[in-house]
């Protein structure tokens, strides 16, 4: 550290009897300024760093000398600084800055460990290059390296550090850290004594970081880490307390070497006795009666006493706990303290002491951290409103709404009610923006085929009004909560699809009425397979026929307040034009011509899912109905078999119904159950017309409308464990022809049970693994429709969500049922499926 020495210095003392008095600092003028002790550093720049100059007036002792030392030390160049008064004459003072230089860190090398460990260590020890190599630094580095390996289970780690001079002109040195980490110390045996009243396996399970050696222990390998062991002892006590043993304690523990590489652990537990609740009394409650509060709390005489459980009932279940009863009515200052009034045998008398406080009205809503998203986009989702009574339930609902937006890191949404002196409360929301745009890019040059690939862009927080504002392009105009999705997919000239969707969630900014426009164009051409051999250079350029589809759709949606405010109703109007050119895509003799379809779609949906990336609770249900006008009621062109097929399908006619339900619930800990049901029906208005060949269902496989199986006027639904588009039950169970199968079914059902476990909830990469059971079928006619005749499968999979790429998944599914007429597989079998994007069905 730096020091100021005046007067007492042996150099200075004979000439200057400097009177150093902190109570009465004196002012001097600097007559001279020198530097001593410098070997490598430039004395002038050192002096300029001090902020002192010859001619300056300084007070001694005083701020300017202290500041000079601070600034010099702050450079990190020096081990020590002293400022000495070498001469004092009257008010003239000569100062000498005496410094001690130290080599600076040029490089760190680690010896004796792997490259990956070196990288991890570099992050951990934070040795900034250019730092001074002091003894403290060496000691601290040694300690933190050792600690790092002990936490990994290497209890016998030895660390040596050498400072080797590298560059004598600049006084730099390399720090060589040699590490001998020895072998990992595992746990041979854990002995638990004194346990009688609870199962031993449960105690062992609670010890998450301290596991006994066992063959096949893959996910939590056995290792002894002292810090983890201390935590685990605490966890055992917590577990006992939760079960009602409020006196439980770990009274003794011992760790001793078993052999070179393993230790044995002995734990002694004093379980104490289990306590039950006898009487519950209330104190300080004026708003609600004792009976009502006891009912809200949900505890009764004879229940096991568990501090953790009581805490949860007081303050853990939003909307139905004790604090919600008060805090939803504005009682922001509410507090309930539970006290054990008396103990008799195994019975406890509980008393809740309640402080109700004053009712608080919300005054201001403060929003911080929205560096990209505009205020109004966030404010319109906030349910706590100025002028309303403070409500905890509204706050929790706001948290859900903000995380559902997808612009902010859900784990980092901060909510802070700030009580004001006038009895009101300001609510401060702090958000942290996260990337919300997605890009999908894949591609290549496929020789004669040309460009093969996909370019997809999804901007979830777009700002259309800033398109003309060049300053807002960073890299795109953003922040108004609009969604713009662009997609281009091609397989050379053979297949191309372009689409654009724009959604404004608050049309006009006054009401949450969403407006969307989408446009798309698809073209699929078939080539003559024989030309591949006869004329390879023109293959993929000359085509026999084509199918084209152009679509425009306008949609309006609004939130409903009834039956509850999670409901949404949306309507859309779609026009589609199908062009067939020498290509009988449905296999019904419709080879040339143009078909048009105008549909009105209406969707009633309810969505209360808590978190879009990894839902843990809530459900979503939607019912979608699609209608075309009933042309057959006005003209017999569509029904008369004598009319040319081209004219019969000039106007497509059908009605279609889709039902989707998905439900999430936490099973235990982090494990989440997802149950889903999906159904769809395609009907006709008139028995004299044929069922529409357009917009039918195909079932099976990954459900991905991707390469090799293009979405051609069909609804593609996955069923893992089976081949793509393979699940189909024909008329009366007769094996369907390939044409029938590819045309698709009129009704489908699908049921899924999925167990999900999150591996990482980091918003930059949310990863979860899953196991599923699913069953479904697709029927070619209504006569054979039987919702219990299902093709079943089971399997496992994993999903990763990255903000830039969306959801990517892989599943292995095993199908149990035989598919009548399947060309590719007759018996049961398993297969892998890849998925991109969130699958609805």
């Amino acid at each position: 550290g730096g020091r100021i020495t005046t007067g007492q210095s042996p150099v200075a003392s004979p000439t200057s009897p400097l009177d150093l008095n902190y109570a009465d600092p004196k002012e001097y003028e600097i007559a001279g300024l020198t530097v001593t002790g410098n070997k490598y550093l430039d004395p002038n720049s050192l002096l300029s760093l001090t902020g002192l100059k010859v001619g300056d007036k300084v007070r001694i002792p005083g701020e300017s000398i202290n500041g000079a030392i601070k600034r010099l030390m702050g450079q990190g160049l020096l081990e020590d600084v002293e400022i000495l008064a070498t001469k004092v004459e009257g008010n003239q003072i000569t100062l000498n800055v005496s410094i001690k230089e130290q080599p600076r860190l040029y490089k760190v090398t680690f010896v004796g460990i792997k490259k990956s460990e070196q990288d991890a260590l570099k992050d951990k020890v934070k040795l900034n290059l250019g730092r001074l190599i002091s003894n403290t630094l060496i000691k601290n580095t040694q300690l933190s390296v050792k600690k790092y390996f002990i936490e990994k289970g290497y209890l016998n780690t030895k660390v040596k550090i050498l400072s080797v001079p590298t560059d004598s002109t600049r006084n730099q040195a390399t720090m060589r850290v040699s590490i001998d980490k020895g072998s990992k110390v595992k746990i041979n045996n854990i002995e638990i004594r004194g346990r009688q009243l609870v199962e031993e396996s449960k105690i062992r399970m609670k010890m998450k970081g301290t596991k006994q050696m066992r063959f096949g222990r893959l996910f939590t390998p056995s290792k002894f880490v002292p810090k983890k062991f201390e935590e685990d002892k605490q966890k055992i006590v917590e577990f006992y307390n939760k079960e009602g043993y409020r006196d439980a304690a770990v009274t003794f523990d011992s760790v001793y070497a078993h052999d070179d590489k393993t230790v044995n652990i002995v734990l002694n537990i004093d379980e104490g006795q289990k306590y039950y609740i006898r009487n519950i009394t209330w104190e300080g409650n004026y708003l609600y009666t004792d009976e009502l509060l006891t009912q809200v709390l949900g505890l009764k005489k004879g229940d096991v006493y568990s501090k953790e459980d009581i805490e949860k009932r007081k303050n853990g279940i939003p909307g139905s706990d004790l604090s919600s009863a008060y805090m939803d009515k504005g009682y922001l200052y509410f507090n309930a303290e539970d006290v054990i009034k008396s103990v008799e045998g195994d019975s406890l008398d509980l008393e809740f002491r309640i402080f109700e406080g004053k009712q608080a009205t919300i005054n201001r809503i403060i929003l911080n951290g929205n560096t990209k998203t505009s205020d109004h986009v966030v404010l319109r989702e906030i349910r706590t409103l100025p002028g309303q009574k403070f409500s905890k339930t509204d706050i929790i609902r706001t948290q859900r709404e903000l995380s559902t937006l997808g612009y902010f890191d859900p784990e980092k949404i901060g909510i802070n009610p700030v009580p004001q002196p006038d009895g009101t409360v300001d609510i401060e929301y702090t958000v942290e923006e996260k990337p919300s745009d997605q890009i999908e890019l894949s591609g290549g040059w496929g020789g004669y085929v040309g460009f093969v690939g996909t370019l997809g862009l999804v901007f979830n927080n777009f700002s259309a009004r800033n398109i003309t504002n060049m300053k807002a392009w960073r890299p795109l105009p953003a922040g108004d909560g609009q969604k713009l999705a662009l997609r281009f997919q091609a397989n050379g000239r053979q297949f191309q699809t372009y689409s654009l969707t724009f959604t404004e969630p608050w049309l006009g900014g006054r009401k949450p009425n969403s407006f969307s426009v989408s446009l798309s164009r698809t073209i699929y051409r078939i080539s003559d397979p024989s030309s591949y051999y006869s004329n390879p250079s023109s293959y993929g350029k000359n085509f026999l026929g084509s199918y084209g589809n152009t679509m425009i759709s306008l949609g309006l949606g609004r939130r409903l307040h009834f039956p509850d405010d999670y409901f949404q109703l949306s309507n859309s109007l779609t026009y589609q034009r199908y062009e067939l050119n020498n290509y009988d895509i449905f296999g019904i003799g419709l080879r040339n011509g143009t078909s048009n379809s105008i549909t009105f779609n209406t969707t009633l949906a309810r969505n209360s899912i808590d978190n879009p990336q990894f839902p843990r609770s809530g459900s979503s249900i939607s019912l979608l109905a699609t209608f075309t006008p009933p042309y057959s009621a006005f003209t017999n062109k569509t029904t008369d078999a004598n009319v040319d097929i081209k004219d019969r399908y000039k106007w497509v006619e059908y009605h279609k119904w889709m039902f989707d339900a998905s439900w999430f619930a936490t099973v235990t800990g982090k494990l989440v159950l997802n149950a889903r049901a999906h159904m769809g029906f395609l009907g006709r208005y008139n028995s004299r017309t044929d069922f529409s060949p357009f917009e039918r269902f195909v079932l099976g496989g990954s459900g991905l409308a991707g390469t090799g199986q293009f979405a051609l006027a069909q609804d593609i639904i996955g069923l893992r464990g089976y081949n793509d588009r393979d699940v189909y039950t024909g008329i009366n169970g007769i094996s369907p022809t390939p044409q029938e199968k590819s045309r698709g079914g009129l009704a489908f059902s699908k049921y899924v049970m999925e167990l999900r476990y999150p591996v990482s909830l980091n918003p930059s990469a949310t990863i979860f693994v899953l196991t599923f059971l699913e069953a479904g079928n697709n029927w070619g006619n209504f006569k054979n429709y039987n919702p219990f005749d299902l093709k079943r499968s089971a399997g496992v999979g994993a999903r990763i969500f990255m903000p830039a790429f969306g959801l990517i998944g892989i599943d292995y599914g095993y199908g149990f049922d035989r598919m009548p007429g399947s060309q590719t597989r007759v018996g049961p079998g398993g297969q892998f499926h890849f998925t991109i994007g969130q699958q609805i069905r």
Binding site: S45, I365, D375, R380, R510
Partner: protein
């Protein structure tokens, strides 16, 4: 391999420093910045160190990396408090923050920091030639905060069609605005919107709230007419005021009748008693 890359790889520190200064003077701030960045840790404690750090901060500023330039300028004037350039560095620190202040409808923490830095500069250098400029910048930033507050206050009014409770929220937030910005140019419009919001709130209330809420309409109208008698919306506000006053009169009459009815039977008993 370009001469620049060659210099980066094989040049001596001195060559690099000279080249960096040349690049800087030629206006090639990206290259100059790269070289200074590399040199600064090496030059620590040398004569060139001071200028290198000053140039580096300017390079970032010229490349519009205002967050970085503000950081480096601040570091400079704190480290070299006695430097001839300290005054300029402090000015550019504040200026960088000013330029980095975001759009009004985003988080304004940086705007507040910028305002504080500009004010600190004015206080520390009252004789500075930049003083006038800084005062002007503070005014610009203050306007921005005012616009934000105005926009937020109006937001509730705008979305009140979606949720009637927003009428009350807009009254509360407009009242806050009027108190916080008593001289704002938006006050005329907001004072009218407050009458309008309160009137709609009263109209959409249950009967037991009518009296209190219509009374507030009257109060807010009077506040409007006192301060902005020439408001373009005064006619519309007047109609609401009249209606609210009528409602209040009706309520008062009803209350009187109720009172009379309560008193009447008492009179009847009194007369029978006297008979």
């Amino acid at each position: 391999c370009s001469p620049f890359q060659k210099l980066q790889k094989t040049g001596t520190d001195d060559q690099k420093y000279q080249a960096a200064v040349t690049y800087f003077k030629k206006g090639e701030f990206y290259r100059a910045g790269l070289l200074f960045e590399e040199l600064i840790p090496i030059l620590k404690g040398s004569t060139e160190s001071e200028m290198a750090q000053f140039y580096r901060a300017h390079c970032e500023y010229q490349q519009q990396n205002y967050q970085l330039s503000s950081f480096h300028f601040k570091q400079f004037y704190e480290t070299f408090a006695r430097s001839d350039y300290a005054h300029e560095a402090m000015y550019f620190y504040a200026l960088s923050l000013y330029k980095d202040s975001p759009n009004y409808n985003l988080d304004q923490s940086n705007t507040l920091t910028a305002m504080a830095a500009l004010q600190d500069f004015i206080n520390a250098h009252p004789q500075s030639p930049f003083r006038q400029e800084c005062t002007q910048y503070i005014a610009v930033l203050r306007d921005k905060l005012e616009l934000k507050a105005y926009d937020k206050a109006k937001q509730y009014y705008k979305t009140s069609a979606a949720n009637i409770a927003n009428y009350r929220s807009s009254v509360v937030s407009i009242t806050n605005f009027l108190r916080e910005y008593p001289d704002s140019k938006y006050n005329e419009e907001l004072a009218y919107l407050r009458v309008d919001a309160q009137y709609h709130l009263a109209k959409n209330s249950f009967a037991d709230k009518w009296k209190e809420r219509h009374q507030e309409v009257v109060n807010y109208y009077l506040a409007l007419v006192d301060k902005f008698p020439k408001s373009p919306d005064i006619k519309k506000a007047e109609r609401m005021y009249e209606d609210s006053r009528k409602e209040l009169e009706t309520i008062a009459n009803q209350e009187k009748e109720k009172l009379n009815q309560q008193q009447k039977p008492a009179k009847v008993t009194a007369t029978t008693a006297s008979n």
